[in-house]
């Protein structure tokens, strides 16, 4: 049966710790050339309904290390391109005896829907603006390597928070592990209601990165300009770029991260992207090891105990009846 990895928000802290520890173990084993557990009996479907190179390659590389077989599907060539419904596509893959699915989709929540129909492990490789859990795990492993702990750190997530699944997954993970999260960006790229997100909001970069231990830059999509959310990439860079000047407000040993691909000169300048405290290339490498951990985890861990059957959705008692003359 196995487990799903659908969102960091759904994970217990102990699950996150397990995944990070296992990711670190896999990294040590790979670097040392040690024997890795082999899951050769399983076939993993790679469903990328949205273009992606780095995440797909990273998952494939992770699967390769674990001896997993992969079956690739893309949006253009898939049966959905011929009009098949999402549900039927997932059911078909289930009856074609795939053992797990890695899914990327432009719509938030799609892996959760897929998990309902598939009945075997589903891993979220990025869904809309919702979550990108393995990216967050890779980022967390990178921070752990450099800082030793996540607890007590101040992490500034800078840029287009509204449209970023990376921001949401990172925020949930860091918050659950005891870090303090700040969302920094222009109002037009910040969710208008942030009370259910685990972080505080800063519209000013200087205050947002003040004394930060880690800065995670978010990619600025060019379409935000045409949508009128940002006037120009130049103005965005002027206000929110992480560079030599703005880094002065952060701690001296502040780590700079970016999920990639970089818009050099927009979110970061060359100095910030390439200097010794940049962890951008580490993030890429660690992405593979946490994805190995995720694939191993979904196949080897017991699923959480089923919850008690959901109670029917009648809930008249949660609100007081307004005063009225009417009586039954």
């Amino acid at each position: 049966m196995g487990r799903n990895l659908l969102a960091i928000r759904h994970l217990e802290k102990s699950d996150i710790e397990t995944l990070l520890e296992r990711g670190a173990e896999f990294k040590r084993a790979v670097v040392a050339g040690k024997k890795l557990p082999q899951l050769g009996q399983y076939v993993v479907g790679m469903l990328f309904f949205e273009g992606s190179t780095r995440t797909r390659v990273s998952f494939e590389q992770a699967a390769h290390y674990l001896g997993l077989k992969t079956a690739n599907f893309g949006a253009a060539g898939s049966s959905m391109g011929k009009g098949e419904t999402f549900k039927d596509t997932i059911l078909t893959l289930r009856y074609e005896r795939l053992n797990a699915l890695v899914i990327r989709h432009r719509s938030s929540g799609t892996p959760i829907l897929a998990a309902r129909y598939f009945g075997a492990p589903v891993l979220n490789a990025g869904d809309g603006q919702h979550e990108h859990p393995t990216q967050a795990l890779g980022d967390a492993l990178t921070i752990l390597e450099r800082k030793g702990s996540l607890k007590g750190l101040t992490v500034a997530i800078v840029g287009d928070v509204e449209h970023s699944r990376v921001a949401r997954s990172n925020a949930w993970l860091l918050h659950k592990m005891g870090a303090s999260v700040r969302f920094v960006g222009p109002r037009t790229l910040m969710p208008s209601h942030t009370s259910m997100l685990p972080g505080s909001v800063y519209y000013d970069l200087e205050n947002g990165v003040a004394d930060a231990d880690v800065i995670i830059c978010l990619r600025l999509q060019r379409e935000r300009m045409s949508e009128g959310l940002v006037s120009s990439s130049g103005e965005y860079a002027k206000l929110y770029q992480i560079n030599r000047d703005t880094l002065r407000f952060a701690k001296d040993d502040c780590l700079v991260m970016h999920p990639g691909p970089l818009n050099r000169g927009v979110e970061v300048d060359d100095t910030a992207a390439d200097f010794d405290r940049s962890a951008i290339t580490d993030q890429i490498g660690n992405g593979i090891f946490v994805r190995m951990a995720a694939l191993h985890w979904v196949f080897t861990e017991e699923p959480p105990k089923p919850k008690a059957p959901a109670k029917p959705k009648a809930r008249p008692k949660r609100r007081p009846a307004p005063k009225t003359k009417a009586n039954v």
Partner: protein
Amino acid sequence: MKILLKNGRILDPSQDLDFVGSLVIEDDQIVEYGETVDETDVDDLFDCTGYWITPGLVDPHCHLREPGGEHKETIVTGTQSAAAGGFTTVCCMPNTNPPLDNPALIDFLLDRAASPEAGGVFVAPVGALTKGMRGEELADLAALKSAGIVAASDEGFPIQDALVMTKAMEFCVQLDLPVLAHCEDANLARHGSMNEGAMSAMLGLKGVPRTAEDIAVMRNCLLSLNTGCELHIMRVSTWSSVEMIRQAKYLGAPVTCEVVPQHFIFTEEDVAEFDSHFKMQPPLRTQVDVDIILQAIADGTIDCIASDHSPHASHEVHAPFDDAPFGMVGFESVLAATLTHLTHNGILSPLETVRKLSTAPAKILRLDGGSLKPGETPVAQVTVIDPELEWTFDVAKTFSKGKNTAFNGMPFKGKALLTFCGSEIYRDAHFDGGRLQMVG
């Protein structure tokens, strides 16, 4: 043919009637009601002890999907579902394919609704306000009225241009047609799939801000005040819209409004697991909105309750949240949801419940129905309701082709057991067969 409904609680808001008595339908017309009635020569007798005898329910807002959406619903299945829900008259919206913007389509629809295999309920078509519901040129409203429309609306494609809306309203005043408006600023709502708020921010779903509704409600209320056009605002969902409608009524605008059960029962929190059965238009809002809506239902600011019956094929609903269509079926759940969440909670009295579901919508749309007064309607429109019946909604057992509902598996208290539109058109399995006696 003489039918006697005996010993029920007769509830008729049009005459402020609330007493235990009997009602007689003869030759498809209500001929008499009272504590005692003439029981001679009765052909059918229904013992309604413990039940309500009410005017047939009237739905101001539903979708029958035909023509063009027959895979979702047809006029036959839709009207059968309506009858099962206790409705005797339903107003169907014009967003079919093609839209109901020419008289031939109205003729087709009315013919289909009157066919023997249909559910036997009256279908009152709502015509498109503009050609193709594109919000640009007015539809041939006079011809549509001659063909039988009872109101005009561009439904889910609301007119964005205030000048076009003004002209549409002015023309409808001249034609004595109410305008039904789904109020939404399309630019603000663009690409949104749920309420814009803390939940949408967490889930990473594009939100529809409440201002998208509020701005359009305010604009349309002002235009109604200015033109004198009777404006019925469909499916109110925000507390601020309710407040504006209250103000518009105070200022004398001929404005009425409706709410649908999902907006007084569910909130945006129900979207937490991306279940597209909770994808509504307008979206499910917050508990604050629900609380204010409940107060507005109780104090009469919200005039009536609609089904917004919106059937979709299952493959359309079982899709990623962004891709799934809006809405849910409602004919067979709206009465039960209202009784369960409003009547049994003391928010509405039985008489007010019937007013919201029958008398008020009939009056707003100037339809026959909403009354038990003999001779008031050409044929009897009567619903018998068991207000105490506890049952669980099972969408698999419904008549509608659409099985998309957030109410599936929900416990309800109260149900329509018998529906008469002229003669009996629906009898629920819960109606105790033992109660039916042929009187020789």
